[in-house]
């Protein structure tokens, strides 16, 4: 359906934060005083616009909810013709709402969190740039434009991870994130090319309507390439190593980019390409395997880290693993992948912002072994964190319960092994989140001597409260009032399959695992004394503290071979390529060095040469004549 009414403003959704970024970043120091507020306003404006569009869309019948708006012809070369065109459908709509509303809350929170930072304006400029790129990613109506947004969020992520670039660790983490993402981006780039070659178009509607004509091998290749892209952006195995280091960025960045929105772009990509995965069974299976591996990697890492943000980052990996697994299940899972993505976006943002509030009050201390008993001084932060904690471990009726349970249920429909693994992972989630809450807010105070923890200002706690309300109610709202299955069904398809377990049994089993996991966490970290210096720990703990050797594997498999290859190439370049070029130059130089000696400056020697030459010529002529 063409864009009319509210929907004629789709481009404004992106243009507002983009303009904010342009003004803040190009305006320079002149915008220092009012820039941050402008940055907040643009995103709030986009959020208001998004809510208006959502209300309008609710009023439309389901088959008219896909709105297309073409701004202009963007690329036309040979058979390739791509419009700068936006597609707002049910899937894009929920993403736009998540990005703009959570984004707006985090912008407001940042006003307090970044209050004393000298580069506040730059920070808000980058955040606006991120929001614009992320909206472009989810609103694009073709893969090429999606790729622009994809790279845009990667750039914003790089800039914001390295925001405190005076810290070498932050600069290194930014580079690491960018380079590992590059691997995934290459996958997406090749996928776009294969899609164009196969279908003759990169527009979603054209591609998905002609999927049946393509052969399965090609579709599997596209599916695997898109999975590679998703692995990079969503920090899934084997490209997961960057996310833990990305916690070097300011905490609002971790909440917005590395928990709620950007890292879920991989899930969006897979769900958006559902028509391809429905026909590429092997690619979909690969998606499930990657998701399951990451669920456990993230959970294990999250269980061992003492850095609150890194523990949360492990948790994010694990939860996105849930979404990726669900997305690989096919039509029984797509809807719930997005459902979990939405609830996770809210409660994980709440957790990260809560962690930021704790850090703000504790002189930026991140070591949970130096926390303890903070509930006594941070009432609001504790309450909101605790609500989000209940949501993530999946206690009814909090949001995470509904979405995670639906995924586990769908997994059982596909196969008992997948379901059982996800239930086990839910138990680990219960453990590490309880550990985190117990170490941070309960037990005895283990603060540094100069720490004077205090509750944060209202500008930070109000977003926390709103997110906590979301963490309570969003699951029920989406499932019972919003009917997320029927809402998303026109875009993603929806199916159910017979499950070996009844719904009640699934809920019972997963709740039992969660409660046991949480109980272990509470007993180990709230009842017992937490040592200030980390004990040596078991083999698994030590491995998890080193990110399950993710960096070491990369080092051995990628960095070292690349290093040695480049050393060999440098040697070849220096000794052979340069050797040849320099050898030629030396040869010419040497010869001319000898020859120039004949330019002696004595006029009579020149005369002798001339006479000698003339004699030679004459003699030659005479000889030729005589012979």
């Amino acid at each position: 359906m063409p864009a009319t009414g509210a929907f004629s403003l789709i481009w404004v959704l992106i243009a507002l934060p983009l303009a904010g970024a342009a003004i803040l970043l190009l305006g320079g120091r002149r915008t220092n005083s009012w820039g941050p507020y402008l940055g907040v306003l643009t995103v709030v404006g986009s959020a208001a616009l998004a809510i208006w569009m959502w209300l309008e869309m609710m009023g439309l019948p389901a088959e008219q909810r896909t709105i297309e708006q073409s701004a202009y012809r963007w690329v036309f070369a040979g058979g390739l013709s791509v419009d700068m065109a936006f597609q707002l459908d049910q899937l894009s709509m929920v993403f736009v709402l998540l990005i703009t509303i959570v984004g707006a809350l985090i912008h407001v929170y940042s006003l307090g969190y970044m209050e004393h930072d000298l580069d506040r304006r730059k920070f808000f400029g980058f955040l606006n740039l991120f929001v614009a790129a992320m909206l472009l990613l989810v609103l694009a109506n073709n893969y090429l434009l999606l790729y622009v947004g994809w790279e845009g969020v990667g750039l914003a992520s790089y800039l914001l991870i390295g925001f405190w670039q005076v810290k070498p660790s932050a600069a290194a983490a930014a580079k690491k994130a960018f380079i590992i993402n590059r691997v995934g981006d290459v996958g997406l780039g090749i996928a776009v090319m294969v899609i164009f070659v196969t279908f003759g178009s990169v527009t979603f509607t054209d591609v998905f309507s002609s999927v049946d004509e393509a052969n399965e091998g090609t579709l599997t290749a596209i599916g695997l390439l898109l999975l590679l892209a998703a692995c990079g952006k969503s920090a899934q195995f084997p490209l997961q190593a960057w996310l833990l280091d990305a916690m070097e960025g300011p905490t609002p960045v971790s909440a917005l980019i590395h928990a709620a929105t950007m890292v879920t772009a991989g899930v969006y990509l897979i769900v958006r390409s559902n028509a391809i995965y429905d026909r590429a069974v092997w690619a979909a299976t690969a998606v499930v395997v990657v998701g399951l591996i990451t669920v456990f990697m993230g959970a294990i890492i999250g269980s061992a880290k003492d850095d609150i943000k890194k523990s949360l980052a492990g948790s994010t990996m694990s939860q996105i693993g849930y979404m990726i697994t669900a997305a690989g299940l096919g039509p029984i899972g797509y809807v719930f992948a997005i459902f979990h993505l939405l609830t996770h976006g809210v409660f994980k943002a709440g957790l990260f912002l809560g962690a930021g509030s704790v850090m703000h009050g504790m002189n930026d201390e991140v070591n949970m072994r130096r926390y303890g008993a903070l509930r006594k001084v941070m009432a609001i932060t504790t309450a909101t964190f605790f609500i989000c904690y209940l949501a993530i471990i999946g206690i009814p009726p909090f949001a995470g319960f509904w979405s995670k349970d639906e995924i586990i249920h769908a997994a059982f429909e596909r196969g008992p092994v997948i379901g059982a693994l996800l239930v086990l992972a839910a138990g680990i989630t219960g453990f590490y989140m309880s550990r985190m809450v117990a170490m941070t807010f309960f037990g005895k105070a283990r603060w540094e001597d100069d720490a004077h923890p205090h509750e944060s200002k209202l500008v930070m706690t109000i977003p926390l409260i709103i997110l906590a309300i979301g963490a309570i109610g969003l699951g029920m709202a989406l499932l019972f009032w919003g009917n997320i299955e029927t809402w998303l069904e026109p875009v993603t398809g929806f199916a159910t399959a017979p499950s070996p377990l009844t719904t009640a049994a699934t809920i019972g089993i997963s709740l039992a695992f969660v409660v046991v996991g949480a109980a272990i966490g509470w007993i180990m970290y709230a009842r017992r004394e937490v040592p200030v210096t980390a004990p040596r720990g078991s083999v698994l703990t030590r491995a998890a503290r080193r990110d399950l050797y993710g960096d070491d594997v990369n080092e051995v498999l990628v960095v070292r071979p690349t290093y040695w290859l480049s050393r060999v190439l440098i040697w070849f370049d220096r000794s052979w390529v340069d050797g040849f070029v320099n050898g030629c130059a030396d040869l010419v130089g040497g010869i001319s060095g000898r020859l120039r000696r004949y330019q002696s400056g004595f006029a009579r020697s020149y005369a002798l040469s001339m006479v000698g030459g003339a004699v030679v010529i004459v003699v030659a002529l005479v000889l030729v004549r005589l012979s």
């Binding site: 000696r597 330019q599 002696s600 400056g601 006029a603 009579r604």
Partner: protein, 99 residues
């Protein structure tokens, strides 16, 4: 009279001039030797014109004279300048223009 003798004379004069250019150091003498070579060539041209019975050689002889006159003007000017700066007319001394 046999024109071959003039050719012979011309060759002898040319050789004297050439050897003079090579062996003498005084720029004026070298210069006069160059003139000697030019005039030897002129003599050869005129003799050939006589032998072949046409005017081609004589025409060329005129051209050579004109060129020689121009050369004298430039050459003498250079020699005078060299003498003024170095107080010497030796052709071996101005050897700065080299490798």
């Amino acid at each position: 009279m046999n024109p071959g003798n003039y050719i012979l004379l011309s060759a002898v004069l040319f050789s004297i001039g050439a050897i003079g250019v090579l062996v003498r150091r005084n720029a004026i003498v070298v210069f006069m030797c160059v003139e000697l070579m030019l005039n030897a060539a002129n003599l050869a041209f005129v003799s050939f014109a006589r032998m072949n019975g046409n005017l081609d050689g004589q025409t060329v002889a005129f051209f050579v004279m004109v060129v020689a006159a121009a050369e004298v003007v430039v050459g003498l000017a250079i020699i005078v300048q060299i003498f003024r700066t170095r107080s010497s007319a030796s052709i071996d001394e101005p050897n700065l223009l080299k490798y």
